[in-house]
Symmetry: C2
Subunit: 217 residues, 2 copies
């Protein structure tokens, strides 16, 4: 049975098996997913160039699965709801995130979430260059927050040599996932407040510039 009548494998089947292994154990191996699929390790290479491509396929699967906010709402509401959707999706596969961080992305794909965020920030009055930066910032917050989700509680509860301010802060800290959730909520609020203030400043600036020359505000 060297060549089955119907192919057993496909890139997608391999990706799903790898993702299931990552969700369960935090990592995956070629022999591991081969055994899971009832196949020999070398067979995987017919459908996939190697381990790195499997990681990349998992990244694309994750990012393309994030729900996008409909455009009827205001831009900051859209950003907030998509940030939460992004985080919810990433948190569902939180053990995958360190793996994605370890491998550098080699795909030039722009996903639905990227486009929708660009539209929202653009609607918010950010300049094109700022739009990219804002997306990067939001990305950092989500990824960082989900990496934080993987950090054992012990890191934050044991605190030798903490100063007074740090000790007081640590005293308020509960276990995960509540801690990381709360930090994300606070961080997202900070960002949106900051973006709103910057967008407002932009409006004021252009108003100040245009006022002397003509009456259009």
């Amino acid at each position: 049975m060297a060549r089955p009548a119907q192919p057993i494998l496909s890139a997608e089947i391999i990706t799903v098996a790898a993702l299931r292994a990552v969700d369960a154990t935090g990592d995956f191996t070629m022999p591991g997913i081969a055994k899971e699929l009832g196949v020999r390790p070398s067979s995987l290479y017919t459908h996939v160039s190697g381990r790195a491509e499997i990681v990349e396929l998992m990244r694309m699967r994750l990012l393309s699965g994030i729900p996008v906010a409909d455009e009827s709402q205001g831009w900051s509401k859209r950003v907030a709801s998509m940030a939460w959707e992004y985080r919810r999706t990433a948190a569902k596969h939180w053990r995958l995130i360190p793996l994605l961080a370890a491998h550098t992305a080699r795909t030039g794909a722009v996903f639905g979430i990227d486009n929708a965020l660009a539209q929202a920030f653009s609607d918010g009055g950010l300049a094109p260059a700022e739009v990219l930066h804002a997306i990067s910032t939001l990305d950092s917050l989500v990824i960082g927050s989900v990496l934080d989700l993987a950090t054992p509680d012990v890191v934050w509860t044991e605190a030798p040599n903490a100063n007074e301010a740090m000790a007081a802060a640590l005293a308020t800290s509960g276990p995960n996932p509540g801690r990381a959730d709360a930090a994300f909520e606070f961080g997202l609020r900070t960002l949106i407040t900051g973006w709103l203030a910057q967008a407002l400043t932009g409006v004021l600036d252009s108003a100040a510039i245009s006022v002397p020359g003509n009456a259009a505000v």
Copy 2:
């Protein structure tokens, strides 16, 4: 020469060798650093419990090396300068960051940078619970930004299926490290603006609460 008169190895020597390997190649192996140190791989285990501990030692070495701002400046200035120092230190060893992200921290150590940030945010009027969240947020931005530094330019320049807003944003994007630097600067400014606004809101809130009862503002 099974037991040298003077020990050849130490945890620190091993850590430095590993860090040098990571800086040069993006990863390290036990045989690799053993050869670098003129020793057999099994010898490393006399000073270190294994690969995971070496990663942890590198993490501690990185974090404890971040310069701390002196307290004479205002809190937001301190936060900004430490954020930049944090990023500068992390960027100097940018290939280490994915490795740190892949391994979950198991150390409960609070570093100088943590204490100084806690002090600064506390001075800024954030509540103790918010202090921890603010530190987490800043951490996410720095880590995310340095991970971004490792992303090849091709990811952002090739853009099939980008919408108008995204295409305009991508058109402004130059190569790394400038791109990631600019994104970090923008993100940091957004955060500080947001924190200032939130701190201000806190002041206003407590003012509103205290005014009816007595005259102290």
